[in-house]
Subunit: 387 residues, 2 copies
């Protein structure tokens, strides 16, 4: 039974996705042709009439470029209406079923302004965070309260020392949830108090960012509790709680805190050489779309597997023009050492939120360690022009 010819009131506005297709050029063209159908009607195209479904709803190949015997890029545009102007369905069109195709990877996407307008994007972004910390230039600094197993009292002691050391953000380790060791409400209250008291003593502006990973039933309640307790920012892992749950938190006007995106459970979105998202698209574009103000990722040379090129692509995704969404701060971490600072300063330049964890604890005193980190970075910046 073929489908009745259909007339639709389409706006004509379209968004587009550029896919890297790992195949010889002819096969890549045929895969691109499958993708534009798969991501929209998922239906035999020959059963569709010469109508607005075929010419409007089905994706349209807008460009095709070959970069070698086994790699082509194909740009496909989709009618804005297919996205329903909602995140889950927008992601569904961009990569939903195609996430299951080997050899198809999202390089980047380009939203129409109409689709972008459905999203708030980063509330603070780089410039908003700089205003908040009164640091118009230079790098920003963050560390994490650890390890899991410590009591809220012990973690608050760390928080106090970090804030006294002038860290801009004192965040929970992403593994601090609502464990019996340091239950969420007690930890958040004690750590927020500790940071507030340290700020009062030093005149600093450190913010405490608790980890928000409670179950869906409790997310909003926990976020509001944290704000009321004095948390100045929130840490969440979009892949862990769901990209759309992260967006909801970030867009909540009643909350209005800076949000830091953590990469936990997100590896599958980016590690595939020929599936998922590019680092630029996921850690840059997707994180901005869902309203993260800073995006944490594993630095090159640490204990994870990101390369310099991937880290460069992330900073590009954080800063490039994107429908007026604010640029956001890249926050490389993951086994960061003092020795790595000069190279990081050269590589990332000014707009960076350094995330140093365990290494700070190797120094005798946490407050001294923070000061040393800042000195290190500033000395490196003075010496090294950005790449």
């Amino acid at each position: 039974m073929s489908i009745a010819p259909t007339r639709l009131a389409l706006s004509g506005s379209r968004f587009s996705v550029t896919y890297a297709i790992a195949a010889d050029p002819a096969t890549a063209r045929s895969i691109a042709d499958n993708v534009r159908v798969e991501q929209t009607i998922e239906f035999p195209l020959d059963l569709i009439a010469d109508d607005d479904i075929r010419h409007g709803v089905v994706g349209r190949i807008e460009g095709f470029e070959t970069f070698g015997p086994d790699l082509s890029h194909c740009t496909i545009s989709y009618a804005d209406e297919t996205s329903a102007f909602e995140l889950p369905q927008l992601l569904n069109v961009i990569l939903g079923n195609a996430s299951l195709f080997r050899g198809v990877k999202v390089v980047r996407f380009d939203l129409s302004d109409a689709v972008a307008a459905a999203f708030r994007g980063p509330r603070f972004g780089t410039s908003g965070l700089r205003r908040l910390f009164d640091r118009p230039a230079g790098p920003l600094f963050m560390s994490a309260l650890k390890p899991q197993g410590l009591s809220a009292v012990e973690l608050a002691r760390q928080a106090s020392a970090f804030a006294a050391g002038g860290l801009d953000i004192v965040k929970d380790d992403h593994g601090l949830a609502n464990q019996s060791f340091s239950p969420f409400r007690e930890r958040v209250t004690r750590c927020a108090d500790a940071v507030r008291e340290a700020n009062a003593r030093t005149g600093g502006r450190s913010l405490y960012a608790p980890m928000l990973s409670g179950p869906a039933e409790r997310l909003i309640e926990d976020a509001l509790f944290a704000r009321d307790a004095g948390a100045g920012a929130l840490l969440l892992a979009p892949a862990l709680i769901g990209l759309d749950a992260a967006r909801r938190i970030a867009e909540l006007d009643v909350l209005a805190l800076p949000i830091l995106g953590h990469p936990a459970l997100g590896g599958g979105f980016v590690l595939g050489a020929a599936h998922g998202f590019s680092h630029r698209a996921y850690f840059g574009q997707v994180m901005r779309l869902i309203g993260m103000d800073a995006t944490i990722f594993p630095n090159f040379g640490g204990r994870f597997a990101f390369t310099r090129d991937e880290c460069r692509a992330i900073t590009r995704g954080c800063g490039e023009a994107m429908n007026g969404f604010a640029p956001i701060l890249p926050s490389p971490g993951g086994g960061m050492t003092f020795a790595a600072v000069p190279e990081m300063a050269r590589f990332y330049g000014d707009d960076i939120l350094y995330l140093m964890g365990g290494e700070l604890h190797r120094v005798g005193d946490l407050t001294d360690a923070c000061l040393r980190l800042r000195d290190h970075a500033q000395a490196a910046m003075a010496k090294e022009p950005a790449e």
Copy 2:
């Protein structure tokens, strides 16, 4: 500054995760040693005292087996308390940061009964679905309303024909969201009505399963609307709306509908040869943990890239013993043809929810097409003993 020795009141109950590590045996041992630290304290182990954090909180290597020069399996146990008995943090311990390690993949996990008790699991599962459809044996059948772009009236016409053809489940295409073409509420109302009327005529028990992909703000409301409108099941894509959002819907007692898990956007969790989850763990164990009653995945030989071994692993994950969670129905689809039925019947045996989409539309009449599909499968079952 090393960490103060810490005494904890740990229950002693632990859950475990088996990781495949793609490296030579010595390197694999060292990676396993990193993973057990990374997934818990993410902190230099040498700064931890000889205390309950080191011996209780940090993961413990329980087994290590080498399968060749570049592959070992390592089982690591974690204290129940690290999971906070909540899904996001449990997934965080199982794979959070390790998702960013190349060469580390979750083969399977084994929950303690105490952790498992924090989850409802599948409400219906295979046996509950069989009772619902009054089909104590034999395969079940499902198709999808498509393509996106049709009006709710046209989609309801399809739903009526499918139900008249005796399909057990008539689901939305996963790309039907809240687009202007067929807005969620109108579509759900019309399609549920159409299936109810067809059932009344034929005495059938078809269920209509609308796609639930609305944004986080509207998920619960949409689910309840669908139930009130007469939807008999729900379709959702856990990777798209978030695994924890999917769990919340499935666990909602006020809803209490069968839930079908769709793989959209989930490719990154499973496609990596050496990262993410195994097919068995993701499509079987994770889907059961979050309460899916059936798990949709791309069949071998279709337009996606799953192999026979991967599909076999999924059926194993759907049925194997798992803390008393009900077994669930594997639902292979993705370009399924009539010609594929005999081989699928042999491969999957009795416990299968066939998902056939576009191919049904190639037959002149949808109701006839459904009857032909059932005949085909039953003939194949009569001829072919299960593998």
